[in-house]
């Protein structure tokens, strides 16, 4: 059942993506820090937007990826998608954590507070906690089949909560920068924004692929006990080199 190791066909793709993402990231951040003009009202603090906004876009993608993996796993019971779910959960939690940190760093000089009960910030934090809960659940369930089903179910329930949290907190309290779209921003600002968006997209995809591969190897090791373990493990271990 677990022979379906995720993305074995293109073993080098994630490394290429990571390298490309890192290069683009350096380029985009350089542009954002030194070439792009200073924002009129917020000054240099605004430059954190060149990482913050792309991180937010990619966080949304990672959450959607985790949700879709969970749904596909429940329909197909293909363990490839369980590994992808694990990767999606962890990478989106990392991005959510980064988002909260970046948001706080930006909020302190701009609003004078570290934390603000803004709908987007609060939804990210709530979903971060929910996904960390699902990751904890995965760690506590030994049986692979149960772990996969339960974490898919919990991921779906948590992801469905996201829009509800967003709108309820929005009603509750609001004070956030209006969302900017490339159309409302001058081109000097949006080039580093776009470059970094792709940089983080590549980095994220690379990490998800590597993490999914690791997850399926662990799963293969876990489910193959006895003499078959070595025969299953060897070709995969060889691939590492």
């Amino acid at each position: 059942m677990t022979q379906n190791t995720a993305n074995q066909r293109f073993p080098r793709t994630p490394y290429i993506l990571l390298g490309l993402g890192a290069l683009l990231y350096v380029f985009g951040s350089y542009w954002g820090l030194f070439i792009a003009p200073k924002e009129q009202y917020m000054g240099d603090v605004q430059r954190i937007m060149y990482v913050h906004v792309p991180t937010a876009w990619n966080w949304m993608l990672a959450v959607i990826f985790a949700f879709v993996s969970a749904v596909i796993f429940l329909f197909t019971s293909n363990y490839k998608w369980d590994s992808r779910l694990e990767a999606g959960l962890e990478v989106s939690s990392l991005l959510a954590f980064l988002l909260c940190c970046q948001g706080s760093i930006w909020a302190k000089p701009t609003w004078g507070v570290w934390w603000d009960w803004d709908p987007r910030l609060t939804s990210v934090a709530v979903l971060l906690m929910a996904f960390l809960g699902v990751i904890a659940l995965r760690n506590f369930v030994e049986d692979a089949a149960r772990r996969a089903i339960w974490s898919s179910v919990a991921t779906i329930i948590a992801a469905v909560d996201l829009p509800i949290v967003y709108f309820s907190v929005k009603w509750w309290n609001s004070l956030h920068q209006q969302q900017s779209s490339p159309k409302t921003v001058s081109s000097d600002f949006y080039i580093p924004l776009r470059v970094n968006a792709f940089a983080i997209l590549f980095l994220m995809t690379g990490f998800i692929m590597l993490r999914a591969r690791l997850a399926s190897r662990r799963l293969a090791e876990e489910t193959s006990v006895g003499p078959e373990a070595t025969s299953l493990g060897e070709p995969m271990a060889g691939e590492l080199g």
Binding site: M129, L137, W150, A154, I164, S168, W171, W172
Partner: protein, 218 residues
């Protein structure tokens, strides 16, 4: 489903001393919250709705975790799965039983809140409505998560870890609606919070019922 509900209610009736201890737990929590604020009657009254719901939320983890206790003992769960009954009926039976229990618990905590925080109201019917809808929001995902966590190690940690972030919208709406009932509602916004609660309940009662059969599978 009716049979499953009857079984759950009978079990709860037989363990009513447990309900009483959970109530004492909730009342103690309400007492402790006031020490976190200090003896300022005005502030306590303003926060009373939040304290009531936090107290109910903390107590709910105890009742929800306990609701699968009977199934886990003697591996009765396997027997239930083997029954030619729809697993959804089992879920809704247990969820409705938890809903009733949490509604009773919430209503029982109201007098404690009124006495401790001087947060009386004459709109008892609206308050009961908020408690019923809020308890529904807690019990639907709570029952599903309890079904999972009751079978693993560290269940006491995992249930709140999974449940608390999830019910943020329900908690928020319940607290807001309750405080509008207690402190007065100049903007007439009680209904919008009630409809948010209702929407949350509708989404999770259907979604959790849909997903529950997968959780039981092995």
């Amino acid at each position: 489903m009716i049979a499953a509900l009857r079984k759950e209610l009978l079990l709860q009736w037989r363990s009513r001393s447990q309900f009483f201890s959970v109530f004492i737990f909730g009342a103690t929590a309400l007492l402790l919250f006031s020490f976190g604020v200090g003896p300022n009657a005005e502030i306590l009254r303003q926060f009373s709705a939040g304290f009531l719901w936090l107290g109910l939320l903390l107590s709910s983890t105890l009742t929800l975790a306990e609701s699968f206790h009977a199934e886990m003992e003697n591996r009765a769960m396997e027997g239930l799965i083997l029954l030619p009954a729809d697993p959804r009926a089992l879920y809704y039976g247990k969820a409705v039983a938890n809903w009733i229990q949490l509604t009773l618990l919430g209503s029982a905590l109201v007098p404690v809140m009124v006495i401790l925080y001087d947060a009386g109201t004459t709109r008892l019917l609206s308050l009961l409505g908020v408690i019923i809808l809020g308890a529904a929001g807690l019990s639907a995902p709570g029952t599903l998560y309890a079904a999972m966590t009751s079978q693993v190690r560290a269940k006491q940690t995992l249930l709140p870890l999974l449940l608390f972030p999830l019910i943020v919208p329900a908690l928020l709406a319940s607290v807001k609606a309750t405080s509008l009932v207690i402190l007065g509602d100049p903007m007439q916004s009680l209904n919008s919070w009630m409809s948010l609660l209702l929407a949350f309940d509708a989404i999770y009662w259907s979604l959790c019922g849909l997903l529950y059969p997968r959780v039981l599978e092995d």
